[in-house]
Amino acid sequence: MASITIRNAVKAYGAVEVLHGVSVAARDGEFVVLVGPSGCGKSTLLRMIAGLESITDGEIEIGDRVVNELEPKERDIAMVFQSYALYPHMTVRDNMAFALKLARRSREQIESEVNRAADILGLAPLLDRYPRQLSGGQRQRVAMGRAIVRNPAVFLFDEPLSNLDAKLRVQMRSEIKALHHRLGATMIYVTHDQMEAMTMADRIVVMRAGNIEQVGTPLEIYDTPANSFVGSFIGSPSMNLIDGVIVANGAGASLKDGDGTLWPLPEHAVPHIGRSVQLGIRPEHISLQTGGIAAIISSVEPTGAETHVQMQVGGKTIVAVLRDRPGIAIGDTVAIAITDERSQLFDLQTGLHLR
């Protein structure tokens, strides 16, 4: 097992720079998730760690070795691809044994390692099948088995669950997390799905446009986003963002939005009176309350455990997640309240979180 340290990593394709000096570290045995929208550079960064992309500037260390100039096979890493990348002309057994054969291990060693990995992943009955005879979930397990047999220092996952259906994705998330717990290996996991990031990571690295926006534990990122992008990207449904100006309201402060609606703010907003900001409210921090802010229901989506409600407040669309099953319908006028001490403030110009 090994730690990974990335220092000021830059990646450019000709004149186009796609990674702008990112620095991040993964501790030995840690499960780090790189998350962000398409094109943010997370897969590029992962491929640079793997050695499949060259690094334009900066350093990548695995353990205590700088690996910039090393071939992938010399970095002691294993990778699970989005498309599984199983060799279609080889059986499951041969797929898993391929790397060991290249390393000139003995037949007994190869058999032992393959069987061990197969037992961990429940692949023993499938060893003589070809990839085309397997389901998506089975193929994904074979791809993980191919990585496990090598006992690498670091596991790299490049959106491995993207091609699976929703139910299987949830199941495989748990299996990968259980695998991490069992092996105690360092794992770097790339996904665009913030739910995967929240449920699987020890730490999350949120990326955008070639930069790292924030690094932290899932709850740190969720509760204290560094900027409005992180706040709206993490969490489903997304955080509601309301533009306005902080105005004095008695002893406290409120946000006055473009329609003149006054939104209550926490105490720490008082020093920022007069500032133009974005108010971030998580959907679950909105509740129905008599005497609150008027809203007109525009959509009601019951999911069983909760109800997602879209409503219009002035000209803005606000999304709320309600635990109870309120007897509301489209077109109803309701009154809402927000848990103001949980709301977030972001500078309107920079998007940065205001403390």
Partner: protein, 283 residues
């Protein structure tokens, strides 16, 4: 007649028309082969007789044995096999290596080199006969197998065909193999080539048949009956005393057999490989 029975009758008529047209085309393609075999089993005088008879009056099956023994036919077969197999093997090996280099390796001038390589396809091969012969003569390879084999074994078509096929193989397979520890050559041998058997099979088949049927170049480079390949050897039935057309047809019929056998063998390989590639990359 109801609308339903009208459309059924119309579909039937169209079916008959389609099958009829296909049968006609098949007949046009197959008739030369039938005519060759028909003339192979009749007497020479009957070959040229008017009126023309589709089937011989007397079937002379001995013509095959006569053709085989009148000239050193066995020798012609072996010479053709040596030339065809050698050219095929060299072509496939070189095309795999060069096709992979053009498909996957990044080096300065690669695309320009590929374009100039492809441009040579525009040159009619007949124009290269004289310069190639001069080179072969200069190297002292006239009347040798290497003189026949080497100039035709390094063609552009195979490289281009395999390059295009290699480009269709997902890059992630190679990346996975690189991470597993494979070198470029190992990736080519263990991953790319097994997945490219349809294209390699086709290239092998075309190359083999093309060299098997190659008349002009072996005629120019080789002298003497013992060095002749089959197409050249068949012409030795044309003498000053006359032409033994029935023996030529018998010899030609025998000459077809290895090509047909190879096509049958490779057909299964090509079809199985296409089925395998359907699941390529785990998709």
């Amino acid at each position: 007649m109801t609308t339903r029975s009208k459309s059924r009758a119309g579909a039937l008529a169209l079916d008959i028309l389609n099958h009829g047209a296909l049968a006609l085309v098949a007949l046009l393609f197959l008739f030369p082969f039938f005519w060759m075999i028909s003339n192979a089993v009749r007497s020479n005088s009957e070959v040229l007789a008017i009126p023309v008879r589709i089937l011989p009056t007397v079937f002379e099956w001995d013509n095959f044995a006569e053709a085989w023994t009148t000239l050193p036919f066995g020798r012609f077969f072996i010479n053709s096999l040596i030339v065809s197999i050698s050219v095929t093997v060299i072509t496939v090996v070189v095309s795999c290596l060069s096709g992979y280099a053009f498909a996957r390796l990044k080096f300065p001038g690669r695309d320009a080199l590929l374009m100039s390589y492809l441009a040579t396809l525009m040159v009619p091969s007949i124009m290269l006969i004289i310069p190639l012969f001069l080179i072969v003569n200069y190297l002292g390879m006239v009347n040798t197998f290497q003189g026949v084999i080497l100039p035709v074994a390094f063609g552009t078509f195979g490289s281009f065909l395999l390059r295009q096929f290699f480009l269709s193989i997902p890059n992630e397979l190679e990346e996975a193999a690189r991470i597993d520890g494979a070198s470029r050559l190992r990736i080519l041998v263990s991953i790319i080539v097994p997945l490219s058997m349809p294209a390699i099979g086709l290239l092998s088949l075309f190359t083999f048949i093309s060299q098997w049927n190659n008349f002009l170049w072996p005629l120019i480079v080789m002298t003497g009956a013992n060095n002749a390949t089959l197409p050249v050897g068949l012409t030795l039935f044309q003498t000053q005393q006359g032409t033994a057309w029935n023996y030529i047809m018998a010899g030609a019929t025998l000459s077809m057999l290895p090509g047909i056998l190879l096509a049958i063998l490779l057909q299964k390989l090509i079809y199985n490989s296409i089925a395998l590639n359907a699941g390529m990359g785990g998709r």
